[in-house]
């Protein structure tokens, strides 16, 4: 295709991408470098029921109005929010490094800082859920593909149910089932013989619970993609493999898996992105005491207090975007290399 024609061809999508992806990101970046104006405070007399009148501090609206009109964006603080305690916390990390007596001690001190605590869970979640989801998804697709036609339809429907349930609702349903009085929770107590067992109380079990939920809810996606891919595996190759005496395992290993490799890249890309933004299970499992993610930190900045911390939420968002970019870079690099080497032939 000529360059001119190509440009005209992609111009609409390019415009949409600038408008709906690039510009919002720029706006978030600008937001993340601004804080609220320094508040002008004054002491006033407040009268409320029960307590009568007391002296308390309040904001001087007159003075603030002027400031706000002058610079509606707020006060430019550059990278201060990024470096602050609720984000990268350089000072606290340095102090933790100096005070710690080993890498283990340093890491446990690091886990005391919100951003690193959130990052630790987010990364663990991403790197456990993604491979499990790919492997189990493939197994389910392979198993289903061998079912007789009559059973296929209903079984496929049942297998994609976890994906059809809204994550928030699915999480909530599971949460109540795992309660120590719920069906799964009491079953676990019966199986382990430990009446005090509570999945919600222990940090380790909470992580396990969230990860199991994550795998359960994202398997259908991998399964559907693989199942579609299985329909395109060339029959001839499979047949010749059978003639060559290849077992079922060898056919899967040397014919089907290589054939599905591009799909695996696709699923890995989407899953890495999705899992890095994990949020709903933490909310529905009320798990914030034991596990928080980057997205949860953003939600908490915006909704946790009466006064939203827009700069802080924007900074976490930017760090999340950077995180996703880093995560995806190997996959994208690989795709690019395949593309250029194919073109070189």
């Amino acid at each position: 295709m000529k360059h001119g024609a190509f440009l005209r061809f992609i111009a609409p999508s390019l415009a949409a991408m600038v408008l709906f992806i690039a510009l919002p990101i720029v706006s978030v970046l600008i937001q993340s470098m601004h804080a609220e104006h320094e508040q002008v405070l004054k002491v006033v007399e407040n009268c409320v029921p029960f307590a009568g009148c007391t002296e308390t501090t309040s904001i001087d609206q007159e003075a603030m109005r002027e400031l706000r009109e002058e610079r509606p964006l707020g006060r430019f603080v550059g990278g201060d929010i990024y470096a602050g305690r609720n984000h990268l916390a350089f000072d606290s990390v340095g102090a933790a490094w100096a005070a710690s007596d080993g890498i283990g001690d340093f890491l446990s001190r690091l886990m005391n800082l919100r951003f690193y605590k959130a990052l630790a869970f987010t990364l663990t979640y991403t790197f456990v859920v993604t491979p499990f989801c790919i492997v189990i998804g493939l197994c389910v697709a392979l198993a289903l593909n061998t079912l007789p036609k009559l059973l296929k339809g209903p079984t496929i429907f049942l297998s994609i149910l976890p994906m059809m349930i809204t994550p928030l609702i699915g999480g909530l349903v599971l949460y109540w089932m795992l309660d120590s009085r719920g069906i799964l929770g009491s079953a676990l107590i019966y199986l382990t013989g430990d009446p005090g067992l509570s999945l919600k109380a222990s940090p380790v079990l909470t992580w396990v619970m969230l990860i199991v939920y994550g795998v359960w809810s994202s398997i259908p996606f991998a399964f559907v993609v693989y199942y579609a891919g299985l329909q395109t595996v060339p029959e001839d190759t499979l047949e010749s493999a059978v003639i060559d005496g290849a077992s079922r395992w060898e056919r899967i290993r040397y014919v089907i898996i290589p054939h599905l490799a591009p799909l695996t890249t696709f699923i890995a890309l989407i899953q890495l992105m999705d899992n890095f933004r994990v949020l709903e299970p933490i909310v529905s499992f009320s798990a914030e005491a034991n596990a928080i993610s980057l997205s949860y930190a953003i939600l908490n900045d915006l909704r946790g207090t009466e006064t939203a911390l827009f700069g802080s939420a924007a900074a976490t968002s930017m760090l999340t975007i950077i995180g996703v970019a880093v995560l995806l870079s190997p996959v994208i690099w690989r795709t690019w290399r395949d593309f250029t080497s194919r073109n070189a032939h």
Binding site: E38, L41, F50, S58, S92, E288
Partner: protein, 412 residues
């Protein structure tokens, strides 16, 4: 007359004030013309007030949602504001004041507010910014039958007594996890700390500034007490919100709980007859020999948006005044502890009344209290889970607060 006294003398006042309005007459000026749009939280008492307001303003729209505090600032910032009335509580009034979105009501009161008691007026710097109409507080719910079974004849009035009673219930095998409070990580846990810390006589900030001052002996004491309570609570205590504690109570799985007064009618209704009959409501307990109960008082009231025309403001004010007239009490006495003249405390109001008359402080209305509350909710968990000592947790909370307060412009 101050409101505390009125709670005690409610019956005396009822005789004077109630007859004039008992027949449900509308106030002068009804029905109003002009736009009335009400944004409020979603619980029965507020629905009753909104419904009464609607009688005076038939065209009024009402949005009652538990998400109200998340939409109120953007909704009232619009020109003209999306809602003309925002029903708020202590803490949710603060962001509206901070962003200058509600108007002073003094002129409107002078013209249309003859029936509003001065004790209902929330005055800031001499101007009335909101009219309170109901009160709320966390207080004790106790199962007299279980306590008796454990040989406790006198109901505990201090947290030390509650913990002792809880231990007795556990030791005697009557109940494994006898205590409960709204201790879910986040807002709820922070609220419990606020209650306990104020009960010990602590203050959150250095005098007259936004500098935090919680990492001290009082803070440690408050945390240690919370931990003792947590140890006698169920293992899932960090997920207990109001719905969870209410369910525990109704299921008869708790013997002593600190829960919201506004839930009392609901809790008793949902519990079985046996449990309801044995439930005793009482004021929040004191702690550490303090004189006032370890709780905070909350009020709910209405405000009028700043970014609307004066006509709409007047119409909205008249409609809301009609909403909080004593006539609203009819059939709704049980739904809240009303601050409305003529209210006579019902049995379910005992807990809040006792907490109020005990001299409990209202939840602080400082512009930076929200940031403190949020920091506490996130950072205190580490101590309760045993991964940190109390002082470190408090220092962490101070550091997290400092970062937020700096971003909000309260600290440099």
């Amino acid at each position: 007359m101050n409101v505390t006294k009125r709670l005690l003398l409610g019956s005396a006042l009822a005789a004077v004030a109630a007859p004039a309005f008992a027949d449900g007459h509308l106030v002068a000026g009804c029905p109003v013309e002009g736009r009335v749009a009400i944004l409020s939280n979603d619980f029965p008492a507020l629905a009753a007030v909104s419904a009464r307001a609607q009688e005076c303003a038939p065209e009024a729209t009402i949005n009652a949602t538990t998400e109200h505090k998340d939409i109120q600032v953007p909704a009232l910032t619009a020109e003209p504001a999306e809602y003309t009335v925002a029903v708020v509580a202590n803490s949710s009034l603060v962001p509206l004041l901070t962003a200058d979105l509600v108007r002073p009501l003094d002129d409107l009161i002078a013209e249309h507010g003859a029936n509003i008691d001065p004790g209902q007026m929330i005055k800031i710097d001499g101007q009335t910014m909101a009219i309170a109409f109901m009160a709320n507080a966390q207080h004790l719910y106790m199962r007299s039958d279980l306590l008796e079974q454990a040989g406790i004849t006198e109901m505990p009035t201090t947290w030390e007594g509650v913990i002792e009673a809880g231990q007795a219930l556990r030791d005697q095998g009557i109940m494994e996890n006898p205590l409960a409070m709204n201790s879910a990580a986040g807002w709820n846990l922070a609220e419990e700390f606020v209650n306990m810390y104020l009960g010990y006589g602590g203050s959150f900030f250095a005098d007259g500034s936004a500098e935090p001052a919680i990492a001290n002996e009082t803070g440690v004491q408050a945390l240690e007490t919370l931990k003792q309570i947590a140890e006698l609570s169920g293992p899932d205590y960090l997920t207990y919100d109001s719905n969870a504690t209410q369910a525990l109570w109704s299921a008869g799985e708790v013997a002593i709980a600190q829960m919201w007064g506004s839930r009392a009618a609901n809790v008793l209704e949902e519990s079985g007859e046996e449990i309801a009959a044995a439930t005793v409501l009482a004021g929040a307990p004191t702690v550490g020999g303090g004189s006032s109960p370890a709780s905070t008082l909350w009020w709910d009231g209405f405000t009028i948006a700043a970014n609307i025309s004066d006509e709409d403001a007047e119409a909205s004010f008249i409609a809301m005044v009609n909403g909080v007239q004593p006539a609203v009490l009819e059939g709704n006495e049980d739904k809240a502890v009303w601050l409305i003249p003529g209210y006579e405390p019902t049995p379910v109001a005992v807990g809040v009344s006792e907490t109020a008359t005990g001299g409990t402080a209202p939840y602080p209305m400082l512009p930076y209290m929200g940031a403190m509350h949020n920091a506490l909710g996130a950072e205190l968990v580490d101590f309760l889970q045993g991964s940190e000592d109390a002082m470190t947790a408090l220092q962490d909370a101070e550091a997290a607060y400092r970062a937020a307060a700096t971003e909000l412009g309260f600290l440099q």
